[in-house]
């Protein structure tokens, strides 16, 4: 479904991602792990169009999307969350999520000024989508709260809801449980599982090994920008090089 070949990103002299070949398994939970600074976030940023790759190609549904801007890639059905949330704190949870469906609407300035039927319909559509997404992530009860007043874990869920509101086929989640306590981590894992059960393809960066081993169908390991292993959780756990990278490199919780 999504495939990258020879993907490379250099920041000046620093090679953040080095010639990675990878293909995402459709409808599965794909995990990417690796020590801090291994290039995981950069890898996501390349695929989702935040950064332009230095070399390599990205193919999504048989179409090359290598140098497409992020907003075009989003429209193709590729959604993402960021390692740190970028929500608008002084606005309500629902207001934050409504704009998530904007990319599926066509209303322009003219529609807004004259409040055309199209605008009214599309606004309803966006609101309905926001409610549906918030319901899916289990946040209906806080939808009228200001984001600044909800917990860190709830903010992560809002970010999920935003991604879901774009009507994606594949979702990239960058460390969704960073800064979330163990109990809540289990709940987040359940939510990710629920998304996969719905038929979404998931691509996940995570540090919490037990969670990954339990959730993921397929794991890729990055170290210093290079893919050093991939396979099922059982295979990865036994892999010599992975053990070495984690014990030798900076182990991060």
């Amino acid at each position: 479904m999504l495939e990258v070949k020879g993907l490379t990103k250099r920041f000046g002299g620093n090679v953040a991602v080095k010639s990675v070949d990878y293909s995402v398994q459709q409808g599965k939970i794909n995990a990417i792990i690796g020590p801090n600074g291994a290039g995981k976030s950069t890898f996501f940023n390349l695929i989702t169009g935040v950064h332009e790759p230095t070399e390599g190609t990205i193919i999504y549904k048989n179409e090359e999307i290598t140098r497409q801007p992020a907003n075009v890639i989003a429209k193709l059905g590729v959604a993402r969350t960021f390692q740190s949330t970028h929500l608008f704190e002084m606005s309500t949870v629902k207001d934050n999520v409504i704009v998530g469906h904007r990319l599926r609407t066509k209303s322009n300035l003219f529609d807004s000024i004259f409040r055309t039927r199209r605008l009214k319909e599309e606004e309803q559509q966006c609101i309905a989508k926001a409610e549906e997404s918030l319901d899916f992530v289990g946040l209906s009860h806080v939808s009228d709260q200001l984001v600044t007043n909800i917990s860190q874990e709830e903010k992560k869920r809002v970010a999920f809801a935003l991604a879901l509101a774009t009507d994606p086929e594949i979702v990239f989640l960058d460390e969704p449980t960073a800064g979330v306590n163990p109990d809540e981590t289990d709940e987040m894992a359940k939510l990710i599982q629920k998304m996969a059960d719905k038929g979404l393809t998931i691509c996940l960066i995570e540090h919490k090994m037990p969670m990954i081993m339990q959730l993921a169908h397929h794991i890729m390991v990055l170290n210093y920008g290079e893919k050093i292993a991939e396979g099922t959780p059982a295979e990865i756990q036994k892999n010599e090089e992975v053990i070495k990278a984690y014990l030798g490199g900076t182990v991060s919780a």
Binding site: R102, I113, N149
Partner: protein
């Protein structure tokens, strides 16, 4: 519901106040000040759309205001075109110039954008000041005609001019309301909040930033044209950066990125400065510290402060209600 009806009552009252003002205070000087305040508010609304809602602080706004004023001035005085046609063309020409400048300015972000537009504003001033053949240079343009009568309505009297400005003001407020409270407005807010996030949500930040920029120059040009039509004399000082900073002050005091902010800030400061006129330039000794305090304690101005208070009151009410309900439940259970 309560708040909504309240809002409607407040708005209706303000409109009625606007209509009866010339009758309650039949003082030509106050009428003049009020008319100017309407004009400034329109310009501030343009600035707020860009700086407040989209997050791009333009310091060329006074320059675009002057372009609107000079376009109508040049068309009517030099080319002897009719008032209304010139009045229509002024914001459109301003918007077109805004489009071209925006294409370049929006390659920058944050403080670089502010600095870039500050330079643009100063260049606009220099062009107006030095291009004597077109703009009259330091002497400016004198004798901008009155608006031609529309049917039985004439615009000779200050009262008629007041009502004209008030009418356009209401129209602008309504249009801004719709823009801000629509998918377009939500798109702008998403960009202000985080461009990376907006992009990842499929929003073309480039196109929408340009739209906000061009719209802001439209309202600046409109306000400039109204100013020229009202004062009927314009000089290069209206392009000077002090105008930009006045508009900025009105916006920040009222509340950047709030809907009512431009009205509250502009009218408040215009009225206060009239009453402090005797202090002349020393007014700034009072305004400066007040502005600094306001920015520290309420970054979203007076309106933002009130909104926050209202929200917190509502939240406390809800919490105590939920608490009461829980208590009743446990009481009923026990």
């Amino acid at each position: 519901m309560n708040v909504l009806t309240n809002k409607k009552v407040i708005i209706s009252l303000l409109i009625v106040l606007g209509i009866v003002f010339p009758f309650i205070i039949p003082n030509l000087y106050y009428l003049h000040i009020m008319t100017l305040a309407f004009i400034w508010t329109i310009a501030v609304y343009g600035l707020n759309l860009l700086a407040g809602y989209t997050g791009y602080l333009s310091l060329a706004h006074g320059g675009f205001f002057a372009i609107g004023a000079y376009v109508i001035g040049i068309l009517t005085v030099k080319l002897e075109m009719g008032f209304w046609l010139s009045f229509l063309l002024a914001p459109l020409v301003t918007m077109f110039i805004g489009l071209i400048i925006g294409l370049f300015a929006l390659r920058t972000k944050e403080h670089f954008f502010a600095i870039y537009t500050l330079c643009v504003g100063y260049i606009i001033y220099l062009v107006i000041d030095k291009w004597e053949g077109l703009t009259g240079g330091v002497r400016g343009l004198i004798g901008i005609p009155l608006p031609e009568a529309i049917g039985p309505i004439t615009f000779q009297s200050p009262t008629a001019q007041y009502y004209l400005a008030f009418f356009i003001f209401l129209l602008v407020v309504a249009v801004i309301y719709r823009i801000v409270h629509s998918l377009t407005g939500r798109t702008f807010i998403a960009i202000r909040n985080s461009e990376d996030l907006a992009l990842s949500l499929g929003i073309s930040t480039k196109r929408n930033k340009l739209l906000a920029f061009v719209l802001s120059t439209f309202f600046a040009g409109l306000a400039g044209a109204m100013y020229a039509g009202f004062i009927r004399f314009i000089g290069p000082e209206i392009a000077y950066t002090t105008i930009t900073f006045d508009l900025l002050t009105y916006m920040i005091v009222g509340g950047i990125g709030t809907f009512a902010g431009p009205i509250v800030g502009t009218f408040l400061i215009v009225i206060i400065s009239q009453n402090l006129q005797f202090l002349q330039d020393y007014r700034m000794l009072i305004f400066g510290p007040l502005l600094t305090l306001l920015i520290i304690f309420s970054p979203r101005g007076i309106v933002g402060f009130i909104q926050m208070q209202l929200y917190q009151r509502k939240r406390k009410k809800q919490e105590s209600l939920a608490y009461k309900n829980r208590e009743e439940e446990t009481n009923a259970g026990g």
